[in-house]
């Protein structure tokens, strides 16, 4: 061997590819030597060629590589130096399918800014718009129902029942800047030809300022809403209808001209109010039956006990917060973003520290929404005023992917069907990026 060969050998790393993917995508477990300056793409090519050798009709696809639970985002040698891993021993590289949107669906046009989106139903997408209408899109392509009634811009929308238990009807709640929440019921068997207009069957009044955010409890019986009047109110979805009826009659008599053409509407009032925030409550999340999390412009994240209606924990982060979501491992991590370009993830189980455990700072403007993947512990999306939706993995500080389909501020974003990212923005479009394979 000459000197050149020796230096070549020194710049090689012995790796073994392992995976948890099903057998057609399983590479031979033998250790091979690869050049140390390979990055993710080169490693992906090697794995693809290994797979192709084993199975001739293999389709090449990108992979992501994990070393000790950390995604490889640098060239291999730099990664090893940065992590202080010895290049002497055989490196175990676990490969997973790369998480990135493969396809951009046709955007769904709206009449005004899309301010809220919910993708919890696999066959329908619910959007809220600044023209005061909520829309239900069948399979993310056709608007089948328009939910009307609000006099102000809709800020938040939610499916109350999950897709599997719809039983022929969709149950929807919307919150609006006209200080009210409305409950709608609409059928799942839809006519694709025209847009059906649906009125609310129940109005929830009580907030004295804009409703900013809605969240449904896991048992689907309660909902909570955060508002600009710095309160969080809990509402019962069903029940106490008699009480609500009388209120509605009284109201109707007072201003009969406005409610004249509408059908009989029920009115409901809040079962309880959570007081504690000093400024507008911009986001609420109800991950478990007992606990509610809320984020506010007073720079705090608070945890509430839903039963006793008491504050149990709070944390000040220094920035006005716009969005909050609970997820991750055991759905106990809190992701929140606000009036700066950093998406922060906290672990409230860690005692004594208020420092975020993860900070993702690739955005360039305010973060408007953040959502954890419904099944994966590691993945979350964030949308920002810089017009980007970014896909994050907790195992690396770099974004996995960035969706640039919006031309203006992105106001809301959500996961849909587990493999798509839906987002609405100030360009009045609902964008759907699909084909994200998260195992």
């Amino acid at each position: 061997m000459d000197a050149g060969g020796a230096s070549d050998a020194s710049r090689q790393v012995r790796v073994r590819f392992v995976t948890k993917l099903p057998p057609p995508l399983r590479a031979p477990p033998a250790a091979i030597a690869v050049p140390a300056d390979l990055s993710r793409m080169g490693l992906s090519e090697i794995v693809n060629s290994l797979l192709l050798a084993a199975e001739p009709d293999h389709q090449a696809q990108p992979f992501d590589f994990l070393v000790d639970g950390e995604l490889v985002r640098l060239p291999l040698r730099q990664f090893l130096i940065a992590k202080g891993i010895s290049a002497e021993r055989v490196l175990e590289l676990e490969y997973v399918k790369a998480v990135a949107p493969r396809k951009q669906e046709e955007p769904c046009p709206h009449d005004d800014w899309v301010s809220a989106v919910d993708g919890s139903n696999p066959s329908f997408i619910l959007t809220g718009c600044y023209d005061g209408l909520a829309r239900i899109w069948k399979d993310g392509a056709v608007c089948t129902q328009v939910l009307e009634g609000h006099s102000g811009a809709i800020t938040s929308t939610r499916f109350i029942n999950k897709g599997v238990e719809t039983k022929g009807s969709l149950h929807v709640v919307t919150g609006s800047k006209d200080r009210s929440l409305r409950l709608f019921k609409c059928e799942t068997s839809v006519n694709m030809d025209y847009q059906k207009r649906v009125g609310a069957y129940k109005i929830l009044r009580g907030h004295t300022s804009s409703v900013q955010s809605i969240s449904i409890d896991p048992s689907r019986n309660m909902l909570c809403s955060g508002s600009w009047d710095s309160t969080i109110k809990l509402w019962a979805v069903e029940g106490s209808e008699e009480d609500g009826d009388t209120v509605s009659l009284k109201k109707r008599r007072m201003n009969s001209d406005s409610s004249g053409p509408e059908e009989s509407q029920l009115e409901g009032s809040a079962t309880s109010t959570l007081l504690g925030h000093t400024q507008c409550v911009t986001a609420v999340a109800w991950p478990e039956q007992q606990t509610i999390y809320s984020a506010s412009w007073d720079h705090s994240v608070r945890q509430w006990d839903a039963e006793t209606v008491k504050e149990t924990w709070n944390m000040v982060c220094g920035k006005a917060l716009n969005c909050l979501d609970c997820g991750g491992e055991g759905s106990s991590l809190i992701a929140a973003g606000g009036s700066d370009p950093v998406l922060r993830v906290w672990d409230p189980r860690k005692p004594g520290t208020l420092a975020p455990i993860f900070q993702f700072s690739s955005h360039s403007s305010w973060i408007t929404a953040c959502k954890w993947h419904p099944s994966s512990w590691f993945h979350l999306i964030s949308s920002s005023f810089d017009g980007k939706v970014m896909l994050w993995d907790l195992r690396t500080a770099w974004p996995l992917a960035s969706v640039d389909s919006h031309k203006d501020k992105v106001l809301c974003a959500d996961w849909w069907k587990g493999d798509s990212v839906i987002s609405g923005g100030a360009d009045s479009k609902l964008c759907i990026s699909s084909g994200i394979e998260i195992v």
């Binding site: 811009a153 004295t208 300022s209 600009w228 006005a320 700066d340 305010w366 106001l411």
Partner: protein
């Protein structure tokens, strides 16, 4: 006599015992028969009469007996051949005695046992018999002993001092009192000296210590302590010392080659080297230096003509001169970055105002529109086309009165913003209702200062002023507001009450044209800024309380600290003055920051921040901490310069306002954009 004899016996015994020389057989036959003092005269008799006394009292008994001869101390040879030996005291000659013959002398010697003690005195020409004591002394002296027997030269040493058992070495007597009493004499002396020093009779000029050695080779002129009286002496600069190249036989590397010498010709006269090294065989062959005289002359000219001054230079680290300011990190949060832009106006945005909860902002622009924006998203919620240049805008600070006051062209417009709950909207509608048949007292021939007129088109009220209005400000309770008409008469500053639709002008004539007016944030005080002064009025007593002198050319804007004791004003020459009204009527600090006119200054309601916007397209953000401790002056720290607005028609940022609850700053630019700067 018997007594004498006894003595003589004794002496002889002593002599014979002591002296072997004198005790030869011839002389020692002692015959004590008689003393042969007959011929020796009275004198010798007298002498021998009291020998003991003489020995005790005096060393020489001769001194007491006057000599017979008076010739004095002359050699006796002079009288050798004379008859006499001299003269006695009365001048008579003393005749020489006849010398007895040798036989005679021998006989007498043999007769007289005491003859051996007889001595011939040549001076007096007589024979003297020495006494036994004298003979004894002589014999002792000849032996080298002390002349007197009683003197013991080596007595045994007796130590009379007792060392043991004594408390005091010398004396155990108590110390006398005078050792403890200050001396009276000394005191007198000291008083005298003190008085002399006080009156300057005694002068202490210490003699200068001359150094014992001096620096032999040192240059006297450049010693630091060589200070002379009068003009300070500056040593002449030294000429350069000659180097190797000026040697008569320098090393080869110093000697330029011919090409180099030629290339000197191409250089400018003053760049050319003054001296070209050359080699010589010996020092003898070095020619005379032809420029010597010239250079000497030049040097003299330099020394004579060149002014030499001593430059005082102090070595100070420039960093240490900077005032100690706290680090910017500790003063967070403050607005830094622009994250949101509110776009929609088509002409410069003249003014903006933030709603008290911070949910909306209102902006007025030269394009004739007033817009309401949502802070959270930057969405324009509402547009009113008021059909005129909107010059100033102010949102009612009461949260239940969403009413906007806007100056459109010359007049004030009150608008219902229609946000908030139904009750709030009803109430504000009620407030803005006005009876058209409002009685106008036309008795006054003067045009009324203000007329309240319903504005049908915009569903508001127009306050028609007698002259163009320039500024509007709300009282913190939201019922009163003030408008400023830049005119010289008493109707320049007007107070209006919204609930009663009433206006009046409480102030007498102002010193100059008023520019802006502002209510105290919590008390019944009122601030009016004229071009040079800020007048502070007490509204209850309707009298002037204070007059703040800004020293600025022309005040353009004013803002009151939420505490109410501090006022900032911005001026048209780019200066910002901070007044502490408790401290002085002069500015506490004047900050020259902007290069062009300051258009607006503003305080934050919650955070210790203030900002100034200017026509030079920049906005300065300062930390302005006011302490509740009256002894501590406010702390002002510049924090950030916010840029981003572009200039349009030479105008930059026209207004800036803080968010009421967040550390955010809204700026309205002449480029028709409103920007939101966040922390």
């Amino acid at each position: 006599m018997g007594h004498n004899e006894g003595e003589h016996e004794q002496e002889r015994d002593d002599l014979s015992a002591d002296d072997s020389l004198w005790s030869d057989d011839v002389w020692s036959e002692g015959d004590e028969g008689s003393l042969s003092f007959e011929d020796s005269g009275e004198g010798s008799e007298a002498e021998s009469d009291e020998p003991e006394e003489a020995a005790v009292e005096s060393d020489s008994s001769e001194d007491e007996v006057a000599p017979k001869n008076t010739v004095g101390d002359v050699p006796l040879e002079w009288y050798k051949n004379e008859e006499h030996i001299g003269y006695d005291i009365s001048g008579r000659k003393i005749k020489k005695r006849d010398r007895e013959g040798r036989i005679e002398a021998y006989l007498r010697n043999a007769d007289d046992a005491k003859n051996w003690r007889k001595i011939y005195d040549e001076y007096n020409d007589e024979e003297v018999q020495i006494t036994k004591e004298e003979a004894k002394i002589i014999s002792r002296m000849l032996k080298g002993k002390t002349p007197h027997t009683n003197v013991d030269p080596y007595p045994d040493y007796v130590d009379w001092f007792e060392y043991d058992d004594k408390g005091h070495p010398l004396s155990s007597a108590p110390e006398p009192k005078r050792r403890f009493v200050p001396s009276k004499w000394e005191q007198k002396k000291v008083v005298k000296l003190v008085r002399a020093i006080r009156n300057g009779w005694i002068k202490f000029d210490k003699p200068k210590e001359e150094p014992n050695f001096y620096h032999l080779w040192g240059d006297e002129t450049d010693t630091a302590d060589n200070k002379r009286q009068g003009l300070s002496y500056i040593p002449a600069p030294k000429p350069n010392l000659p180097g190797h190249e000026e040697s008569y036989n320098p090393s080869v590397e110093y000697i330029p080659t011919q090409e180099e010498i030629d290339s000197y010709q191409l250089m400018y006269e003053e760049d050319r080297p003054k001296f070209i090294p050359r080699r010589f065989e010996s020092l003898r062959s070095v020619p005379a230096y032809e420029k010597a005289l010239r250079e000497g002359f030049d040097r003299c000219l330099d020394l004579y003509l060149c002014p030499r001054t001593r430059k005082k230079r102090i070595n100070i680290n420039p960093e240490s001169l900077k005032p100690k300011l706290p680090s910017k990190k500790d003063l967070r949060p403050y607005p830094k970055t622009c994250y949101l832009e509110f776009k929609g106006h088509s002409a410069p945005v003249k003014s903006l105002s933030v709603e008290i909860t911070g949910q909306w902002i209102a902006s007025g622009s030269s394009d004739g529109t007033i817009r309401i924006w949502e802070v959270e998203t930057g969405r324009c919620l509402k547009v009113w086309n008021v059909g005129g240049d909107v010059r100033h805008i102010a949102w009612n600070p009461a949260p239940d009165r969403p009413i906007l006051a806007a100056i459109v062209d010359h007049d004030l417009l009150l608008l219902n913003v229609e946000v908030g709950s139904e009750e709030v909207q009803m109430k504000s509608k009620e407030l803005l209702r006005i009876d058209e048949s409002a009685p106008e007292d036309d008795a006054d021939d003067k045009k009324p200062a203000v007329r309240w007129v319903k504005n049908e088109k915009l569903d508001g009220i127009t306050l028609i002023h007698h002259k163009a209005v320039s500024n509007v400000d709300w009282h913190f309770k939201g019922d009163y507001f003030t408008t400023v008409v830049p005119s010289g008469d008493t109707r320049a500053v007007l107070l209006h009450q919204l609930s009663k639709k009433h206006s009046h002008h409480p102030f007498s004539k102002l010193p100059g044209l008023p520019v802006a007016a502002a209510f105290h944030p919590s008390q019944k005080m009122f601030f009016v800024a004229t071009k040079k002064f800020v007048q502070v009025y007490d509204l209850q007593k309707a009298q002037l309380v204070k007059k703040l002198e800004s020293g600025l050319r022309e005040i353009s804007s004013i803002s009151i600290h939420p505490g109410g004791d501090n006022v900032i004003v911005g001026s048209k020459d780019g200066k910002l003055c901070w007044f502490d009204t408790d401290l002085s009527t002069r500015p506490y600090k004047t900050l020259k920051t902007h290069s062009k006119d300051i258009t607006s200054v503003t305080f934050h309601r919650k955070y210790p921040l203030f900002a100034s916007s200017s026509e030079d397209c920049s906005v300065y953000v300062f930390h302005g901490m006011v302490y509740s401790d009256l002894n501590q002056n406010p702390l002002i720290v510049p924090l950030e310069i916010l840029r981003g607005h572009s200039s349009s028609d030479g105008r930059g940022v026209l207004d800036c306002k803080f968010h009421p609850k967040q550390p955010w700053l809204f700026t309205a630019g002449a480029d028709s954009v409103i920007r939101l700067y966040c922390d």
